[in-house]
Symmetry: C2
Subunit: 233 residues, 2 copies
C-alpha cells in the first residue's frame, strides 16, 4: 500500500517548500518506499485533523498516521527494518537528534529571516493572514522588519554552517560514506530556501556547495527536479 | 607499554584543566588503556618539540606520537580495534566530528569568556604572559574586558546547550545508550570550567546536570576525583 504524505504547498500546487516535508520525502526515497504527496496549505487544518496534528509533515501508512519529521524517521526505521536504515545505530540516532534541533535553532532561524519575504510572496492567498500572524509572533516583529536585512541574516546562516565544512571536506556526506537522515535534515533547509527564493546561499568553493550538488543528484535528481530556483544563480 | 599523555596543568601540578586533554583522558579510560600523565605548561614547548606539536594533548604510544584530541581519538580506535570503540561506525564518527567543531565554536567560546579570569588566576606564573598575549589576541580584548561579564557569557553558554536537552531526556548519553567520544567532547568543556572556576554552570533540574553526574561517576569517579570545584555549589 502506498504511503500518503501531506506536503506543504505554495500558491502553485507543485511548489513544495516545507523543510520538514523535505526531510520526510528524502527519507522515503532513502528507504525505497512508494509514496504519494497530497498538496496541503497551512490553513487546511481540517484535512489532517484525523491524525491529531495541525501541521505537516503527516504520513498515512495503511491505518497508521504519524506526524513530526523526527517521529516519522523513527517510525520508518522501526516499521521497515529490512530496508536501508536512516541511522546506522543508536549513537547515530542520538547525534542526529541533536543535529536536527541544532539545525532548527542555528540554521532555520537566520534562514527564515533571509527568505521570509520571498516565502510570503509564494504563499497561497488563503494562507497569508495565518502565516503573517504566526510568524510575526515567532519573529517578534512585522515580516517586513524581520526580513528587512537578508544579507545580514545570510551572513549569520553562513557563519553557523562553519562546523560542517571540515566534516564535508573529509566525508562525502554528513552521515559519513553514504547519506543518512542528518543529510536530509540539512538538505531540508536548503530546499526550503531554493523552493521560494532566488537568493544565492553558497559559493561554489564552499564544501557545502559540492555536498548540496550530491544531494540534488540523489535518486535521479529527485530534489533538483522539484519546483524552485536554480542554486547556482 | 603504558601510553604517556602530556596534560596541561596549572600552578598546582595536579590541577589539569585542558578540555582537549580531558577528552583524551576519558577516551583512554573508555578504551581501557593504561596511561600516565605528564604535567605540562603552556610555555614548555621544548618538552613536546619532538612530537611536532606546540600544544597538548600529545600522546606517546611506544614509538608513535600523536597530537590533537580528534586525531588521537581516531588513532586510538585504529590502533586498538579490539577494545571498545569511541565511535560505533563511520556515521557516528562524522557526526561526532561536527559535534566537536560545534562545541568549540558554540560552547567553548562563551565559556572561555565566563571563566577566563578564574583560569588566569590558576595558571603557573611562568604561563601568565603567554596566556594573556595569546588569549587577548583570540578574544580581541584585554582579559579583564573579555571576562568582565561572566553572567552574560554563561547565559549564552546556557542557550547554546538548548539542542542537547531533549536528546538527554531521551538518551542516557549524547552517544545514545553508552558514553562515546561525543560525550567526552562535551564533558571536556565542563571539566575545563570546574577545574579552575567555582561558577555554577547548571541547575539540578537541567537534563544536562544529571548527564554530567553520570559522566563524573564513570570509572569509579575518575572525573569527579580530579582537582577542581564541586559542581553543585
Amino acid at each position: 500500500m502506498t504511503i500518503k504524505l501531506y506536503d506543504l504547498a505554495g500558491a502553485e500546487e507543485d511548489r513544495r517548500f516545507s523543510p520538514y516535508c523535505w526531510r520526510v520525502k528524502m527519507a522515503l526515497k532513502h528507504k525505497g518506499l512508494a509514496f504519494d504527496t497530497v498538496p496541503w496549505r497551512f490553513t487546511e487544518k481540517d484535512a489532517i485533523e484525523f491524525t491529531g496534528s495541525t501541521t505537516v509533515p503527516v504520513i498515512v501508512d495503511g491505518k497508521r498516521a504519524v506526524y513530526d519529521s523526527w517521529e516519522i524517521a523513527l517510525y520508518l526505521d522501526e516499521a521497515y527494518p529490512s530496508r536501508p536504515g536512516l541511522f546506522d545505530g543508536s549513537e547515530s540516532r542520538a547525534l542526529s537528534h541533536f543535529f536536527s534541533l541544532w539545525t532548527v535553532r542555528n540554521l532555520h532561524a537566520p534562514l527564515l529571516r533571509a527568505i521570509v519575504l520571498d516565502l510570503y510572496g509564494q504563499l497561497h492567498e488563503k494562507d497569508r493572514a495565518y502565516f503573517r500572524e504566526s510568524r510575526e509572533k515567532r519573529l517578534g516583529a512585522p515580516l517586513e522588519q524581520a526580513g528587512g536585512d537578508p544579507k545580514k541574516a545570510l551572513a549569520e546562516f553562513h557563519g553557523a554552517l562553519e562546523p560542517l565544512r571540515p566534516v564535508l571536506v573529509q566525508n562525502t556526506f554528513v552521515s559519513g560514506k553514504g547519506p543518512g537522515f542528518a543529510d536530509y535534515i540539512l538538505f531540508g533547509a536548503f530546499q526550503w530556501a531554493r523552493s521560494v527564493s532566488p537568493q544565492r546561499l553558497l559559493e561554489p568553493d564552499d564544501p557545502l556547495y559540492a555536498w548540496r550538488e550530491r544531494m540534488l543528484d540523489l535518486w535521479d535528481g529527485y530534489g533538483r527536479k522539484a519546483k524552485g530556483y536554480p542554486v547556482g544563480t
